[in-house]
Symmetry: C2
DNA sequence: TGTGAGTGTTCATTATATGTAACATTAAAC
DNA sequence: GTTTAATGTTACATATAATGAACACTCACA
Protein backbone atom coordinates (compact mmCIF):
# COMPACT_ATOMS: atom_id res chain seq x y z
CA UNK A 1 0.00 0.00 0.00
CA UNK A 2 1.69 3.16 -1.25
CA UNK A 3 0.42 5.92 1.05
CA UNK A 4 2.42 8.61 -0.74
CA UNK A 5 1.20 7.77 -4.21
CA UNK A 6 -2.35 7.52 -2.97
CA UNK A 7 -2.28 10.89 -1.28
CA UNK A 8 -0.80 12.43 -4.40
CA UNK A 9 -3.47 10.85 -6.59
CA UNK A 10 -6.26 11.93 -4.26
CA UNK A 11 -4.89 15.45 -4.07
CA UNK A 12 -4.46 15.77 -7.84
CA UNK A 13 -7.92 14.33 -8.35
CA UNK A 14 -9.27 17.24 -6.36
CA UNK A 15 -7.14 19.74 -8.24
CA UNK A 16 -5.14 20.90 -5.24
CA UNK A 17 -1.47 21.85 -4.97
CA UNK A 18 0.55 20.72 -1.98
CA UNK A 19 0.45 24.23 -0.56
CA UNK A 20 -3.25 24.66 -1.16
CA UNK A 21 -4.07 21.36 0.52
CA UNK A 22 -1.64 22.17 3.32
CA UNK A 23 -3.38 25.47 3.98
CA UNK A 24 -6.83 23.89 4.03
CA UNK A 25 -5.70 21.03 6.23
CA UNK A 26 -3.63 23.07 8.65
CA UNK A 27 -0.36 21.29 7.99
CA UNK A 28 2.74 22.46 6.16
CA UNK A 29 3.47 21.91 2.51
CA UNK A 30 6.71 20.17 3.36
CA UNK A 31 4.82 17.60 5.36
CA UNK A 32 2.74 16.79 2.33
CA UNK A 33 5.80 16.67 0.12
CA UNK A 34 7.50 14.24 2.48
CA UNK A 35 4.43 12.04 2.77
CA UNK A 36 3.97 11.87 -0.98
CA UNK A 37 7.59 10.95 -1.50
CA UNK A 38 7.24 8.30 1.20
CA UNK A 39 10.13 9.92 3.05
CA UNK A 40 8.03 9.67 6.18
CA UNK A 41 5.22 7.52 7.44
CA UNK A 42 2.68 10.05 8.66
CA UNK A 43 1.02 9.60 12.01
CA UNK A 44 -2.62 8.71 11.91
CA UNK A 45 -3.51 12.11 13.31
CA UNK A 46 -1.51 14.05 10.76
CA UNK A 47 -2.79 11.96 7.87
CA UNK A 48 -6.30 12.51 9.13
CA UNK A 49 -5.65 16.23 9.43
CA UNK A 50 -4.21 16.29 5.94
CA UNK A 51 -7.20 14.45 4.50
CA UNK A 52 -9.58 16.85 6.22
CA UNK A 53 -8.48 19.42 3.64
CA UNK A 54 -9.80 17.29 0.79
CA UNK A 55 -12.06 16.32 2.62
CA UNK A 56 -11.83 12.55 2.81
CA UNK A 57 -12.14 10.03 5.62
CA UNK A 58 -9.44 7.56 6.53
CA UNK A 59 -11.72 4.71 5.48
CA UNK A 60 -12.11 6.21 2.04
CA UNK A 61 -8.42 6.90 1.82
CA UNK A 62 -7.48 3.32 2.54
CA UNK A 63 -10.28 1.68 0.61
CA UNK A 64 -10.61 3.83 -2.48
CA UNK A 65 -9.07 2.13 -5.42
CA UNK A 66 -7.00 4.74 -7.19
CA UNK A 67 -5.62 2.22 -9.60
CA UNK A 68 -6.94 2.31 -13.09
CA UNK A 69 -10.32 0.69 -13.19
CA UNK A 70 -9.50 -2.43 -15.10
CA UNK A 71 -11.65 -3.42 -17.98
CA UNK A 72 -13.60 -5.80 -15.81
CA UNK A 73 -16.56 -7.70 -17.18
CA UNK A 74 -19.89 -6.13 -16.34
CA UNK A 75 -22.57 -8.69 -17.00
CA UNK A 76 -22.90 -12.36 -16.22
CA UNK A 77 -25.28 -14.49 -18.27
CA UNK A 78 -27.52 -16.88 -16.38
CA UNK A 79 -26.15 -19.88 -18.25
CA UNK A 80 -22.55 -18.83 -17.75
CA UNK A 81 -22.76 -18.49 -13.99
CA UNK A 82 -20.43 -20.91 -12.32
CA UNK A 83 -22.19 -23.04 -9.76
CA UNK A 84 -20.48 -23.71 -6.47
CA UNK A 85 -21.62 -26.18 -3.90
CA UNK A 86 -21.40 -25.87 -0.15
CA UNK A 87 -22.82 -29.17 1.02
CA UNK A 88 -26.03 -29.56 -0.96
CA UNK A 89 -26.54 -25.80 -1.17
CA UNK A 90 -25.88 -24.35 -4.61
CA UNK A 91 -24.42 -20.87 -4.98
CA UNK A 92 -23.82 -18.88 -8.13
CA UNK A 93 -21.46 -16.00 -7.48
CA UNK A 94 -21.86 -12.85 -9.57
CA UNK A 95 -18.54 -11.21 -10.40
CA UNK A 96 -16.44 -14.12 -9.23
CA UNK A 97 -13.63 -13.43 -11.69
CA UNK A 98 -13.28 -9.78 -10.72
CA UNK A 99 -9.96 -8.81 -9.17
CA UNK A 100 -11.37 -7.06 -6.13
CA UNK A 101 -14.92 -6.96 -4.98
CA UNK A 102 -16.54 -5.20 -2.06
CA UNK A 103 -19.48 -7.60 -2.09
CA UNK A 104 -20.45 -11.19 -2.73
CA UNK A 105 -23.67 -11.08 -4.71
CA UNK A 106 -25.18 -14.54 -5.06
CA UNK A 107 -28.02 -16.58 -6.44
CA UNK A 108 -28.46 -19.43 -3.99
CA UNK A 109 -30.62 -22.55 -4.08
CA UNK A 110 -31.39 -24.44 -0.88
CA UNK A 111 -32.74 -27.90 -1.71
CA UNK A 112 -35.46 -29.32 0.52
CA UNK A 113 -33.94 -30.14 3.90
CA UNK A 114 -30.64 -28.33 3.32
CA UNK A 115 -29.06 -26.52 6.20
CA UNK A 116 -25.91 -24.48 6.87
CA UNK A 117 -25.54 -26.59 10.00
CA UNK A 118 -26.18 -26.59 13.71
CA UNK A 119 -22.92 -24.78 14.31
CA UNK A 120 -24.05 -21.21 13.75
CA UNK A 121 -22.15 -19.08 11.25
CA UNK A 122 -20.49 -15.88 12.44
CA UNK A 123 -18.10 -13.64 10.55
CA UNK A 124 -17.25 -10.03 9.80
CA UNK A 125 -19.55 -7.84 7.75
CA UNK A 126 -23.20 -7.52 6.90
CA UNK A 127 -25.54 -9.55 4.78
CA UNK A 128 -28.89 -9.12 3.12
CA UNK A 129 -31.09 -11.24 0.91
CA UNK A 130 -34.54 -11.83 -0.52
CA UNK A 131 -36.40 -15.08 -1.02
CA UNK A 132 -37.47 -15.51 -4.63
CA UNK A 133 -39.07 -18.96 -4.41
CA UNK A 134 -39.86 -21.50 -1.71
CA UNK A 135 -39.58 -20.88 2.01
CA UNK A 136 -36.55 -20.31 4.19
CA UNK A 137 -35.96 -20.68 7.88
CA UNK A 138 -33.48 -18.11 9.14
CA UNK A 139 -32.06 -18.14 12.65
CA UNK A 140 -30.25 -15.02 13.90
CA UNK A 141 -29.15 -15.04 17.51
CA UNK A 142 -31.93 -16.75 19.42
CA UNK A 143 -34.66 -15.74 17.01
CA UNK A 144 -36.06 -18.01 14.30
CA UNK A 145 -37.75 -16.48 11.27
CA UNK A 146 -39.67 -18.04 8.39
CA UNK A 147 -39.45 -16.26 5.08
CA UNK A 148 -41.66 -16.59 1.99
CA UNK A 149 -41.07 -15.21 -1.51
CA UNK A 150 -40.62 -11.45 -1.36
CA UNK A 151 -39.54 -11.52 2.29
CA UNK A 152 -36.03 -10.35 3.03
CA UNK A 153 -33.43 -9.95 5.76
CA UNK A 154 -30.53 -7.71 6.69
CA UNK A 155 -28.24 -8.33 9.68
CA UNK A 156 -24.66 -8.07 10.95
CA UNK A 157 -22.81 -11.23 9.99
CA UNK A 158 -21.15 -11.32 13.40
CA UNK A 159 -24.49 -12.33 14.87
CA UNK A 160 -24.70 -16.12 14.90
CA UNK A 161 -26.88 -17.23 11.98
CA UNK A 162 -28.14 -20.29 10.17
CA UNK A 163 -30.12 -20.93 6.99
CA UNK A 164 -32.38 -23.95 6.49
CA UNK A 165 -34.96 -25.03 3.96
CA UNK A 166 -37.68 -26.61 6.08
CA UNK A 167 -40.23 -26.39 3.28
CA UNK A 168 -41.34 -28.84 0.63
CA UNK A 169 -39.80 -27.27 -2.45
CA UNK A 170 -36.40 -25.83 -3.30
CA UNK A 171 -35.78 -22.36 -1.93
CA UNK A 172 -34.15 -19.76 -4.15
CA UNK A 173 -32.51 -16.76 -2.53
CA UNK A 174 -30.76 -13.74 -3.95
CA UNK A 175 -28.30 -12.48 -1.39
CA UNK A 176 -25.42 -10.15 -0.84
CA UNK A 177 -22.66 -9.91 1.73
CA UNK A 178 -20.04 -7.31 2.36
CA UNK A 179 -17.12 -7.67 2.42
CA UNK A 180 -16.85 -10.36 -0.24
CA UNK A 181 -16.67 -13.78 1.38
CA UNK A 182 -16.76 -15.92 -1.74
CA UNK B 1 -12.50 8.52 16.30
CA UNK B 2 -10.79 6.93 19.31
CA UNK B 3 -7.89 4.97 17.84
CA UNK B 4 -6.72 3.74 21.24
CA UNK B 5 -10.08 2.41 22.34
CA UNK B 6 -10.61 0.76 19.00
CA UNK B 7 -7.26 -0.99 19.05
CA UNK B 8 -7.92 -2.19 22.57
CA UNK B 9 -11.37 -3.48 21.62
CA UNK B 10 -10.04 -5.22 18.53
CA UNK B 11 -7.20 -6.77 20.48
CA UNK B 12 -9.45 -7.96 23.31
CA UNK B 13 -11.92 -9.30 20.78
CA UNK B 14 -9.17 -11.55 19.50
CA UNK B 15 -8.13 -12.59 22.99
CA UNK B 16 -4.63 -11.15 22.81
CA UNK B 17 -2.57 -9.41 25.49
CA UNK B 18 -0.52 -6.36 24.61
CA UNK B 19 2.65 -8.43 24.75
CA UNK B 20 1.21 -11.27 22.70
CA UNK B 21 0.00 -8.92 20.00
CA UNK B 22 3.28 -7.04 20.15
CA UNK B 23 5.22 -10.24 19.53
CA UNK B 24 3.05 -11.28 16.61
CA UNK B 25 3.15 -7.83 15.08
CA UNK B 26 6.83 -7.17 15.59
CA UNK B 27 6.37 -4.06 17.74
CA UNK B 28 6.92 -3.57 21.45
CA UNK B 29 4.31 -3.87 24.15
CA UNK B 30 4.91 -0.31 25.28
CA UNK B 31 4.03 0.96 21.84
CA UNK B 32 0.71 -0.80 22.09
CA UNK B 33 0.16 0.48 25.60
CA UNK B 34 0.82 4.05 24.51
CA UNK B 35 -1.43 3.75 21.47
CA UNK B 36 -4.28 2.32 23.51
CA UNK B 37 -3.99 5.09 26.06
CA UNK B 38 -3.94 7.63 23.24
CA UNK B 39 -0.65 8.95 24.59
CA UNK B 40 0.63 8.85 21.04
CA UNK B 41 -0.79 8.97 17.55
CA UNK B 42 0.85 6.00 15.86
CA UNK B 43 2.31 6.35 12.41
CA UNK B 44 0.39 4.66 9.67
CA UNK B 45 3.18 2.16 9.22
CA UNK B 46 3.33 1.20 12.89
CA UNK B 47 -0.43 0.93 13.18
CA UNK B 48 -0.43 -1.23 10.09
CA UNK B 49 2.35 -3.36 11.53
CA UNK B 50 0.46 -3.64 14.81
CA UNK B 51 -2.74 -4.70 13.05
CA UNK B 52 -0.85 -7.32 11.06
CA UNK B 53 -0.63 -9.30 14.28
CA UNK B 54 -4.40 -9.57 14.52
CA UNK B 55 -4.56 -9.70 11.46
CA UNK B 56 -6.71 -6.81 10.30
CA UNK B 57 -6.47 -4.31 7.49
CA UNK B 58 -6.46 -0.57 7.98
CA UNK B 59 -9.76 -0.34 6.17
CA UNK B 60 -11.34 -2.77 8.58
CA UNK B 61 -9.78 -1.01 11.52
CA UNK B 62 -11.21 2.35 10.57
CA UNK B 63 -14.57 1.09 9.38
CA UNK B 64 -15.43 -1.67 11.82
CA UNK B 65 -18.14 -0.61 14.15
CA UNK B 66 -17.05 -1.66 17.61
CA UNK B 67 -20.08 -0.10 19.18
CA UNK B 68 -22.63 -2.41 20.62
CA UNK B 69 -24.66 -4.06 17.92
CA UNK B 70 -28.04 -2.52 18.45
CA UNK B 71 -31.05 -4.74 18.53
CA UNK B 72 -31.84 -4.01 14.93
CA UNK B 73 -34.67 -5.73 13.10
CA UNK B 74 -33.58 -8.69 11.01
CA UNK B 75 -36.37 -9.54 8.63
CA UNK B 76 -38.61 -7.48 6.41
CA UNK B 77 -41.93 -8.90 5.24
CA UNK B 78 -42.83 -8.48 1.59
CA UNK B 79 -46.04 -6.62 2.46
CA UNK B 80 -44.27 -4.34 4.94
CA UNK B 81 -41.61 -3.14 2.55
CA UNK B 82 -41.87 0.56 2.03
CA UNK B 83 -42.07 1.46 -1.63
CA UNK B 84 -40.09 4.43 -2.86
CA UNK B 85 -40.41 5.97 -6.27
CA UNK B 86 -37.68 7.50 -8.35
CA UNK B 87 -39.56 8.74 -11.38
CA UNK B 88 -41.73 5.78 -12.39
CA UNK B 89 -39.20 3.29 -11.05
CA UNK B 90 -40.27 1.57 -7.84
CA UNK B 91 -37.71 0.61 -5.21
CA UNK B 92 -38.21 -1.33 -2.02
CA UNK B 93 -35.27 -0.89 0.31
CA UNK B 94 -34.40 -3.74 2.67
CA UNK B 95 -33.16 -2.52 6.05
CA UNK B 96 -34.16 1.08 5.49
CA UNK B 97 -34.78 1.74 9.17
CA UNK B 98 -31.40 0.44 10.29
CA UNK B 99 -29.07 2.98 11.86
CA UNK B 100 -26.05 2.24 9.74
CA UNK B 101 -25.84 0.04 6.72
CA UNK B 102 -22.91 -0.91 4.54
CA UNK B 103 -25.20 -1.79 1.65
CA UNK B 104 -28.43 -0.80 -0.05
CA UNK B 105 -30.21 -4.04 -0.89
CA UNK B 106 -33.25 -3.42 -3.06
CA UNK B 107 -36.16 -4.96 -4.90
CA UNK B 108 -36.72 -2.73 -7.90
CA UNK B 109 -39.42 -2.66 -10.55
CA UNK B 110 -38.84 -0.89 -13.85
CA UNK B 111 -42.15 -0.36 -15.65
CA UNK B 112 -42.21 -0.64 -19.44
CA UNK B 113 -40.34 2.31 -20.90
CA UNK B 114 -38.81 3.48 -17.63
CA UNK B 115 -35.31 4.87 -17.67
CA UNK B 116 -32.82 6.32 -15.20
CA UNK B 117 -32.26 9.04 -17.77
CA UNK B 118 -29.93 10.10 -20.53
CA UNK B 119 -27.64 11.75 -18.03
CA UNK B 120 -25.58 8.76 -16.95
CA UNK B 121 -25.33 7.97 -13.24
CA UNK B 122 -21.92 7.94 -11.60
CA UNK B 123 -21.09 7.69 -7.92
CA UNK B 124 -18.79 6.03 -5.41
CA UNK B 125 -18.94 2.33 -4.70
CA UNK B 126 -19.88 -0.87 -6.45
CA UNK B 127 -23.18 -2.35 -7.47
CA UNK B 128 -24.56 -5.72 -8.46
CA UNK B 129 -27.93 -7.08 -9.37
CA UNK B 130 -29.90 -9.88 -10.98
CA UNK B 131 -32.93 -9.69 -13.22
CA UNK B 132 -35.81 -11.72 -11.83
CA UNK B 133 -38.46 -10.93 -14.43
CA UNK B 134 -38.71 -9.01 -17.70
CA UNK B 135 -35.76 -7.62 -19.59
CA UNK B 136 -33.39 -4.82 -18.76
CA UNK B 137 -31.12 -2.66 -20.85
CA UNK B 138 -27.98 -1.73 -18.96
CA UNK B 139 -25.46 0.76 -20.26
CA UNK B 140 -22.04 0.92 -18.58
CA UNK B 141 -19.50 3.24 -20.12
CA UNK B 142 -19.98 2.90 -23.87
CA UNK B 143 -21.29 -0.65 -23.72
CA UNK B 144 -24.98 -1.54 -23.87
CA UNK B 145 -26.14 -4.86 -22.44
CA UNK B 146 -29.51 -6.60 -22.53
CA UNK B 147 -30.33 -8.79 -19.54
CA UNK B 148 -32.98 -11.49 -19.20
CA UNK B 149 -34.18 -13.24 -16.03
CA UNK B 150 -31.23 -14.89 -14.29
CA UNK B 151 -28.71 -12.56 -15.91
CA UNK B 152 -26.77 -10.31 -13.58
CA UNK B 153 -24.22 -7.51 -13.43
CA UNK B 154 -21.45 -6.21 -11.22
CA UNK B 155 -19.54 -2.97 -11.86
CA UNK B 156 -17.90 0.03 -10.20
CA UNK B 157 -20.51 2.70 -9.67
CA UNK B 158 -18.04 5.37 -10.77
CA UNK B 159 -18.41 4.07 -14.32
CA UNK B 160 -21.22 5.99 -16.01
CA UNK B 161 -24.32 3.80 -16.06
CA UNK B 162 -27.98 3.78 -17.01
CA UNK B 163 -30.87 1.38 -16.57
CA UNK B 164 -33.82 1.15 -18.98
CA UNK B 165 -36.69 -1.20 -19.52
CA UNK B 166 -36.95 -1.46 -23.30
CA UNK B 167 -39.10 -4.61 -23.10
CA UNK B 168 -42.82 -5.18 -23.18
CA UNK B 169 -43.43 -6.16 -19.56
CA UNK B 170 -42.34 -4.81 -16.19
CA UNK B 171 -38.78 -5.67 -15.23
CA UNK B 172 -38.04 -6.79 -11.69
CA UNK B 173 -34.50 -6.55 -10.41
CA UNK B 174 -32.90 -7.48 -7.11
CA UNK B 175 -29.86 -5.32 -6.59
CA UNK B 176 -27.30 -4.23 -4.09
CA UNK B 177 -24.95 -1.29 -3.83
CA UNK B 178 -22.16 -0.54 -1.43
CA UNK B 179 -21.88 1.82 0.31
CA UNK B 180 -25.55 2.41 1.06
CA UNK B 181 -26.96 5.08 -1.25
CA UNK B 182 -30.59 4.87 -0.20
C1' DT C 1 14.83 39.04 -21.03
C1' DG C 2 13.32 39.65 -16.82
C1' DT C 3 9.72 39.39 -13.10
C1' DG C 4 6.35 37.27 -10.28
C1' DA C 5 3.41 33.75 -8.77
C1' DG C 6 2.93 29.26 -8.93
C1' DT C 7 4.89 24.49 -8.41
C1' DG C 8 7.56 20.59 -5.57
C1' DT C 9 11.88 19.73 -2.87
C1' DT C 10 15.36 20.10 0.81
C1' DC C 11 17.72 21.36 5.28
C1' DA C 12 18.18 22.36 10.13
C1' DT C 13 15.37 22.63 14.20
C1' DT C 14 11.75 21.17 17.04
C1' DA C 15 8.27 18.04 18.40
C1' DT C 16 6.74 13.44 18.75
C1' DA C 17 6.71 8.46 18.49
C1' DT C 18 9.16 4.07 19.43
C1' DG C 19 12.35 0.78 21.80
C1' DT C 20 14.53 -0.85 26.04
C1' DA C 21 14.18 -1.89 30.53
C1' DA C 22 12.32 -1.13 34.56
C1' DC C 23 8.06 -0.91 37.65
C1' DA C 24 3.52 -2.11 40.03
C1' DT C 25 -0.46 -5.15 40.06
C1' DT C 26 -3.06 -9.32 39.65
C1' DA C 27 -4.08 -14.30 39.69
C1' DA C 28 -2.84 -18.96 40.05
C1' DA C 29 0.24 -22.69 42.05
C1' DC C 30 2.56 -24.69 45.66
C1' DG D 1 2.33 -16.58 52.62
C1' DT D 2 5.51 -16.84 48.95
C1' DT D 3 6.64 -17.68 44.33
C1' DT D 4 5.84 -17.44 39.47
C1' DA D 5 4.11 -15.83 35.38
C1' DA D 6 1.09 -13.10 33.48
C1' DT D 7 -0.92 -8.49 33.01
C1' DG D 8 -0.65 -3.07 31.85
C1' DT D 9 2.10 1.20 32.84
C1' DT D 10 6.03 4.26 33.00
C1' DA D 11 11.02 6.70 32.34
C1' DC D 12 14.65 7.62 29.60
C1' DA D 13 17.28 7.28 25.35
C1' DT D 14 16.90 6.98 20.50
C1' DA D 15 14.68 7.20 16.11
C1' DT D 16 11.44 9.44 13.32
C1' DA D 17 8.08 12.84 11.81
C1' DA D 18 6.56 17.79 11.48
C1' DT D 19 7.73 22.61 11.13
C1' DG D 20 9.59 26.89 9.06
C1' DA D 21 12.59 28.85 5.85
C1' DA D 22 15.15 28.42 2.30
C1' DC D 23 15.94 26.52 -2.58
C1' DA D 24 15.33 25.37 -7.66
C1' DC D 25 12.12 24.99 -11.22
C1' DT D 26 8.18 26.08 -14.59
C1' DC D 27 4.96 28.96 -16.78
C1' DA D 28 2.61 33.18 -18.04
C1' DC D 29 3.10 37.92 -18.93
C1' DA D 30 5.11 42.23 -19.80
Amino acid sequence: MDVGARLKAVRKMHGLSQRELAKRAGVTNSTISMIEKNSVSPSVSSLKKTLSGIPMSLVEFFSTDIDVIAKEPVIYRAEELLEMNAGDISMKIIGKNRSNRAMSFMDEVYPVGSDTGEEMLSHEGEEAGMVVAGVLELTVGHEVYHLSPGDSYYFESSRPHRFRNTGEEDCRLISCTTPANF
